[in-house]
Structure formats: C-alpha cells, structure tokens
C-alpha cells in the first residue's frame, strides 16, 4: 500500500491508542494550564460577584454523571466563588439522577471552607449560608412556582427539614430575593429557565454547559437573556482562574488540570484530520 493510501486508512486502534495516551498521561502528572478568561465567563463571574447582600444565588445543578467531568468543575468553582464572597446559596436539581452530584459538589466545597474556618462565623453553615432544596418534579413547577414562593414549591429540603423553619429561607422568599440563577446543564434546560423564570419574573440567568451544546446558547447570550456563559471544560477552567486570581482561593482546580489533556486530544484529532485530508487530496489528484 502506498503512503498516500495509508494516510487515508489509518487503523482505528492506532487512533484510539494515541488518543488514550495523550489523554491519560497529563492526568497522571497533573499540571495547571493557565487560561485567559473570555468575555462570557467574565460576565458570569461579575454577575455572581455583584449579587447584593440581601439576595441569593440559585445554583441549578442539573447535570448527569455522563457530563460530570465538564460541568462539575463549574459547580465547584461557582460555589467556591459564592462562599468566598459570603453569598447566600440555594442549590436544586430538576431531575432525580442529578441529586447525588449536587450533594457531592456541596459536600466538597463546604468541607474546603469549614476545614479552614476558625470560628462559627467563618464556617459555611447549612440553613444559614446555604440550603439544598433537592428535587421536585416536573421541572415546570420550580421554574414558575419559585416566582411566588420557594417554600411552597419545596416544603421540605433534600434532608427532610421544613424549609420555612430555615434561617436563610426566611429572607429568600421568591425570585425577588434572587440575584442570579446559574443553571449548569448539558441539555436544553437553560432555555426553559429563560422561557419561564426570566421572561415572566425577570430573574437573571447564567449558564454553564457542555462544549457540544455551547453553540446553541450563544444567541441567548448575545440578546442578554443569559447574563453570562461558561462553555465546556475551558469555560470551567476560566472561571477557576478568575476565582483563584481574584479571591485567592487556592484549591484543586479540576478543569485547569484537565486542560492539558483536552489540548493534546484536540491537537491529535486535528493532526489526524489533516493527514486524512492530505491523503484524500492526493488520491483525488491521481484519479
């Protein structure tokens, strides 16, 4: 077989092997790759940063385990940002299979802060600083219902506490007390937040999504319906960069550590596409 033909027929096992190598090696020897935050991520960071003291951040962790590596770093970075700035946080999910991931992110970040806290005031306390509302089906109910009363939609939180007895819920009654709602998802859920929560109640919506769904969301960002936008692992790494740079929160940066793998994987895929096209070009000329 000639070289040109070989270029168009590389065995898929070779591609798999090289790809596995470039993805795994940087993860075994993690290095933080610095990224320059882009405008959509900076806009989201600014919006979370400027939440007034009497208003809360709602974090919708509607991401499934399949997209965890991309979206979980976003949840962790936003929570770190909110807790470092002492923002009030309400966490919820719209589908039952996402509860465990939201719980995991919350446990991790509150643990990070509480292990360093010296006083009760410094600590991140459940019911005072944050509440995990859990899940109530179908998604339309919380989206519309929280405009009137959050405790009516969630009479009990994830742990079974009566929400109207929690200190935080005495202050945060509905969307009027919400600074921004950040939806982390790999599906079309953010569009529903715009349709039901933003159009009807005027609540600001920020979004973190997978890279593959990012292109779908740019029209909403351009019109201002999304206050900010984090796209894929790169978006998460940019947010991590902003949190560390501005707030000096030096914790493990999952997305930034995975950027090297991501970069190498993209470069390898591009190299294979170029090789395939060179072979294809010469084959066509020969014919």
């Amino acid at each position: 077989m000639k070289l040109i033909d070989r270029m168009t027929r590389i065995d898929r096992r070779i591609i798999y092997f090289i790809l596995a190598l470039v993805v795994i090696l940087p993860l075994v020897f993690p290095t933080v790759l610095k990224v320059k935050p882009m405008a959509p991520v900076e806009a989201l960071y600014e919006a979370v940063d400027k939440i007034p003291a009497d208003k809360a951040l709602i974090l919708d962790c509607s991401y499934a385990p399949q997209i965890k590596p991309e979206v979980e770093p976003m949840a962790v970075a936003v929570l770190r940002h909110a807790f470092a700035r002492r923002k009030k946080v309400l966490v919820l999910v719209l589908y039952v299979q996402m509860l465990g991931l939201a719980q995991k992110a919350l446990t991790q970040v509150t643990g990070e802060f509480n292990v360093k806290a010296e006083t009760y005031e410094d600590s991140i306390i459940y019911g005072r600083d944050y509440v995990f509302l859990g899940w109530t089906p179908p998604p339309l109910i919380p989206m519309l219902g929280m405009g009137e009363s959050i405790t009516a939609v969630y009479p009990a939180d994830y742990y079974g506490n009566q929400t109207d007895t929690l200190e935080l819920m005495q202050q945060i009654r509905n969307y009027n007390n919400v600074g921004i709602l950040v939806c982390l998802s790999g599906s079309a859920i953010p569009k529903s937040w715009v349709a039901y929560a933003q159009n009807r109640f005027g609540v600001a919506v920020g979004v973190g999504c997978t890279a593959v769904s990012g292109a779908d969301f740019y029209p909403y960002y351009q019109t201002g319906q999304f206050t900010g936008l984090m796209v894929g692992m790169k978006g998460a790494a940019e947010y991590e960069e902003l949190v560390e740079e501005n707030l000096k929160v030096a914790e493990k940066r999952m997305a930034s550590e995975a950027m090297l793998s991501l970069t190498y994987a993209h470069v390898i895929i591009m190299i294979f596409i170029i090789i395939g096209n060179i072979g294809f070009f010469f084959q066509r000329r020969r014919k």
Partner: protein, 219 residues
C-alpha cells in the same frame, strides 16, 4: 367517549396554561399556582409510579418468557429493589431506619451513587471521545466547497478555544469567539425561529384537537 374526555381535558388545561401569561389578575395567578403546585405535582407522582410499574412489568414479562438477554432483567430488578430499600429506609446519608454501614464499609444511597452510577455513566460517555476521533478522521474530508468551509470554521473554533491559541496568534481567540457570536448566531437564530413557530403550530393543533396522534390507537 374516553377519547372525547381526553380531548376536552387537553383543551381546557392547554388554555389554562396560556391565560396566566396574558392576565396578571390575582385570581388567575392564584388558580394557576393551585394547578401547578397541587394538581400537577399529584399527576407527576402518579406518572412516576406508573413509569416504575411499567418498567418492572416489562422486565418481569421478559424473564417469564425467557426473551433475548432475559438474564439482564434480573440485574435490573435486583438493583431496583436494593436501591429502593436503601433509599427509602436508609435515609439520604445513612441516617434512616436501616443501618447502612458495617464498620468502615458504607452502602448508603450517596455512596452507591458516587461509586457505581457516576463511574459507569462517565465511562460510557468517555468512550464517545474515541469514536468521535476515529469518525472525524474518516468523515471530515474537504470533498466540496461547503465541506471545506465547515472544516476551516471547525478548525478555527477548535484552535481558538485551546489555551495555546493566544501563543499562535493574539487575535485567534477573538476570531473564534466572533465565529460563534456572528455566523453561528445568525444560523442558530433562523433555526430557533423555525422551531418556535413549529412548536406554536403543533401546540395549537393539539389543544384544538386537530392533531390526535398522541391519543394512540391509530394505524
């Protein structure tokens, strides 16, 4: 007769779903809140029970008739039963009636989720990267003018969003962002208008009883 009742219910509740967006009067808003917070929630609970019952019935039937891969249905039923018992009686973090720890070995619902569901689902999805790499190598060829345009724009966006982009050219990230902000948005917006108009038309057809395929029973 039962089809007529379903059609009337869809018409009434379809109209009731639209009205609160147009009339801000407290009576209308309170009634809408009652429908959403009480009726819709009860319906959702029934739907959940119905779905779980249906899932179990399908798999029990598969085992009884020894259909292809019937053995896997046992795994589903057993997993369903075990996770239901642990979830219902073990509490969220192992604080319920059922003891979910033997010494340092924990099997509460969160531990099961973090150690079984997350790795399984993540691994399944991770395989996609390998298939995509192989598929893009085989299919991404500059066969025509349109394919070349697609290839070039994909390369610009891919390189532009990599951390090394600014090392190649300081303008590359901004140019990749422009591709997403302008040509991409123009195309997406056209598609969105089409989808929105289509959704409005289909919804009206269902509410008015013109479209009845959802009732089933047709050939």
């Amino acid at each position: 007769m039962h089809k007529r009742i379903a059609l009337v219910l869809v018409f009434v509740f379809g109209i009731l779903g639209i009205i609160p967006f147009l009339i801000p009067h407290p009576i209308v808003q309170n009634f809408d809140e009652f429908i959403r917070n009480d009726i819709l929630r009860i319906l959702a609970a029934f739907a959940l029970a119905l779905a779980l019952g249906s899932l179990l019935r399908v798999h029990v039937d598969k085992i009884r008739r020894k259909r292809v891969n019937w053995q896997y249905s046992w795994i589903l039923i057993l997993s369903f039963a075990i996770s239901s018992i642990i979830g219902l009686f073990g509490g969220v973090a192992g604080t319920g009636l059922l003891k979910t720890a033997i010494g340092s070995f924990h099997f509460d619902i969160q531990t099961l989720y973090e150690n079984i569901i997350i790795p399984l689902a993540s691994s399944m999805f991770a395989l996609l990267a390998f298939f995509m790499a192989s598929a893009s190598y085989r299919a991404f060829r500059a066969r025509s003018y349109e394919a070349t345009l697609l290839l070039v724009s994909a390369f610009i966006v891919m390189i532009g969003f990599l951390p090394i982009a600014s090392s190649i050219s300081s303008r590359l990230p901004a140019f990749a962002q422009w591709v997403l902000n302008v040509p991409n948005v123009a195309g997406q917006r056209g598609i969105l208008f089409g989808i929105a108009l289509g959704a409005v038309a289909t919804s009206l057809k269902i509410i008015l009883g013109i479209e009845r395929a959802w009732l089933g029973g047709g050939k």
